[in-house]
């Protein structure tokens, strides 16, 4: 099983992004997805800059994939998509069928987690159109995956989102701007202040969602480290970790050790209980439960 770093979901200052990928060169990850996937207004890092980052990561032995937007509306957004799809160095992750339209039969692509893939027929179609990997939609369970793995095309790799705040929805509205009482077109890029989004609490103070611009995420991060063995038996090829600004090296290290069987259940439990970033986790989707639930894995 390989490890991938998903695209950064937040609007980090460019310097922080460059720093992050400098560090990533030294981490035991195999694949790095690069690019903005959430808000078309976050354009501080241009395609050429992403390509420069990509080059550095490639030189460090990482496989780079350029990831693309989920919600595409304006013509300017489609032009940018086209430029990414036409790059001649790196494969592209399609997160909307507009990208599949541009990539099909031209070059191999990754069918990203925001393409709705719920059955074998859909996987066959995408594979036929040139997908070499699919990232399972967030809400599917291990049981559903098991059925899909049995009949999917042989040359189609499977990737599972295993760590981080789960992207739950996208809107034409910006919830960060709304929180600051600003209209979206005058948002002042306030989401740049939130390196990990803003927690949205119920009136009983439980974390329900996480606001990240036009995207809502799970209030608590997902962590499937305890399901690594099950993923191995389901022949999952790639485990996706979603970037966070702090302690990402530890996250990668823990998953690497779990995949390489160099860590005990006790050590995993200890990390889950004492991680300084997070006091709560969720993994419900994997176990066929509400996504926000935490299913305590039985050891082994």
């Amino acid at each position: 099983m390989r490890i991938s770093l998903g695209p950064i979901q937040y609007f980090w200052p460019a310097e922080k992004v460059y720093d992050f990928y400098e560090q990533a060169k030294t981490w035991p990850v195999d694949i790095v997805y690069l690019g903005e996937n959430v808000c078309a207004k976050r354009r501080e890092i241009k395609l050429d800059d992403w390509l420069r980052i990509a080059k550095g990561l490639s030189a460090a032995g990482k496989h780079v994939v350029l990831s693309t937007m989920v919600l595409l509306e304006a013509d300017s957004e489609l032009s940018r998509l086209k430029r990414i799809c036409n790059n001649d160095s790196y494969p592209v992750e399609a997160n909307d069928l507009s990208a599949v339209y541009l990539l099909k039969e031209v070059r191999e692509f990754v069918a990203g987690p925001h393409i709705n893939m719920y059955n074998t027929e859909t996987l066959e179609l995408l594979s036929h159109l040139g997908a070499y990997r699919w990232v399972m939609p967030m809400e599917l369970s291990a049981q559903i995956l098991q059925g899909l793995q049995k009949n999917k095309p042989d040359n189609l790799e499977t990737e599972v989102f295993a760590y981080g705040h789960i992207p739950l929805s996208f809107s034409a509205r910006c919830f960060t701007a709304r929180k600051h009482n600003l209209p979206k077109d005058k948002c002042n890029f306030l989401c740049k202040q939130d390196e990990q989004g803003v927690a949205l609490y119920t009136q009983e103070n439980s974390k329900l969602f996480n606001i990240n611009g036009i995207q809502l995420q799970s209030g608590i991060p997902c962590n499937l480290i305890a399901a690594i063995e099950q993923m191995r038996s389901l022949k999952v090829d790639v485990v996706r970790l979603s970037p966070q600004m702090n302690n990402m090296a530890t996250v990668v290290d823990m998953f690497r050790k779990a995949i390489d069987k160099e860590i005990t259940q006790t050590e995993i439990d200890l990390w889950l209980a004492e991680d300084s970033n997070n006091s709560q986790w969720c993994n419900g989707y994997w176990y066929g439960q509400p996504g926000m639930d935490w299913h305590k894995q039985v050891s082994g």
């Binding site: 957004e77 541009l102 709705n116 967030m138 059925g147 009949n151």
Partner: protein, 338 residues
């Protein structure tokens, strides 16, 4: 002077035979229905049609020159795939005028096995731009696309111009602010989503309680809202709850409100949308009758004298009355940018 050759079809919801008759009798050009199972995105208890009722629906509507479409707009999973293919067979047997599909696999199956059935791309298919629409058109020869409620009027206009197929937009009803087909907030909290189970914030997960702090609504035990004694309480849909980020409690995602396009109806007609859809298969026959009648009247009024069209205050008042939170909005359509 503006001359209007063609006004858009009025497409109305029907969750039952009485609702279907209400839509047909009040001027719908087409009605859309679903079967009583997970194959459609209003899989609510007591709603929808079995085969006999669907036959009666088709007979009634066709007799009055109204089309009938079937919503097959959820995402089949491999284990229950036959339920969707059977629904397609039923649609073919009933000689329905169109099937409204979201799933790629099912669209492909329908194209191959039922080429004679018109295919419309459901709003759940999340096609928000011309390339995505081109993909569906090229692969599955879809006749019509129903646009998610996230586009501005200019963007709708650009899409209509750039695509060779019919474009349908929502005109009235509950408003999803999220891109349809790409929202799993409901399954995050309840385990069931529109894509997988045809439900958003399912009724079985809802509970109400009276407390000293007021009436409270919960979804799978998560507090969605708390109401003061004089406040009207709404259905606890996740995106319409009141939450906080540390200070004030507010509608952090969306106020309870309905979409209403009557004010910009001339613009929608002139940019060439082929159909205007009313949301709400879960609504009562009386509601369907009222909304259908008002939209029929408005469309006909605009056609008759485009230069003097003004939404009648009485229509707006009546619609306001049946709207969620008794208020309405143009949603993304009014956005000034792009």
């Amino acid at each position: 002077m503006v001359i209007v050759d063609q006004i858009p079809d009025l497409v109305c919801p029907a969750g039952s035979l009485p609702a279907l008759r209400a839509a047909v009798d009040n001027g719908a050009n087409a009605v859309y229905i679903g079967f009583s199972n997970t194959t459609n995105a209003r899989n609510f208890p007591g709603l929808n049609f079995d085969m006999d009722e669907a036959q009666q629906a088709v007979d009634y509507a066709h007799q009055k020159n109204c089309k009938v479409m079937l919503a097959l707009n959820t995402y089949p999973q491999s284990e229950n795939w036959p339920l969707w293919t059977q629904a397609l067979q039923s649609a073919a047997d009933l000689k329905l005028d169109a099937v409204i599909i979201a799933d790629l696999g099912l669209l492909q199956y329908a194209t191959k096995h039922h080429p004679e059935l018109s295919r419309h791309l459901s709003v759940q298919g999340s096609a928000t731009n011309q390339y995505a629409i081109a993909f569906y058109y090229e692969q599955f020869d879809i006749k019509r696309v129903i646009l998610p409620r996230v586009l501005s009027l200019t963007q709708v206009s650009n899409v209509v111009e750039a695509t060779p197929i019919e474009v349908e937009v929502f005109g009235f009803g509950s408003l999803c602010v999220m891109v349809e087909g790409r929202c799993i907030m409901s399954s995050y909290v309840t385990g069931e989503s529109p894509n997988t189970s045809g439900v958003c914030s399912p009724a079985h997960a809802v509970s109400w309680e009276e407390t000293p702090n007021g009436r409270q609504s919960r979804l799978n035990n998560v507090l969605i809202d708390r109401y003061q004694p004089n406040e009207a309480a709404g259905y606890p849909t996740l995106c319409k709850g009141r939450f906080h980020t540390g200070d004030d409690i507010f509608y952090a995602i969306e106020e309870p409100t309905s979409l209403n396009v009557l004010e910009i109806l001339p613009k929608l007609v002139n940019i060439g949308v082929a159909a205007i859809k009313i949301e709400g298969r879960q609504r009562s026959p009386a509601y369907i009758a009222k909304v259908t009648r008002i939209f029929r009247t408005a469309l006909d009024a605009y056609k008759a004298s485009p230069d003097s069209y003004q939404p009648d205050p009485a229509w707006l008042q009546q619609l306001q009355h049946v709207s969620e939170g008794c208020s309405s909005t143009l949603g993304a359509l009014h956005r000034p940018w792009q």
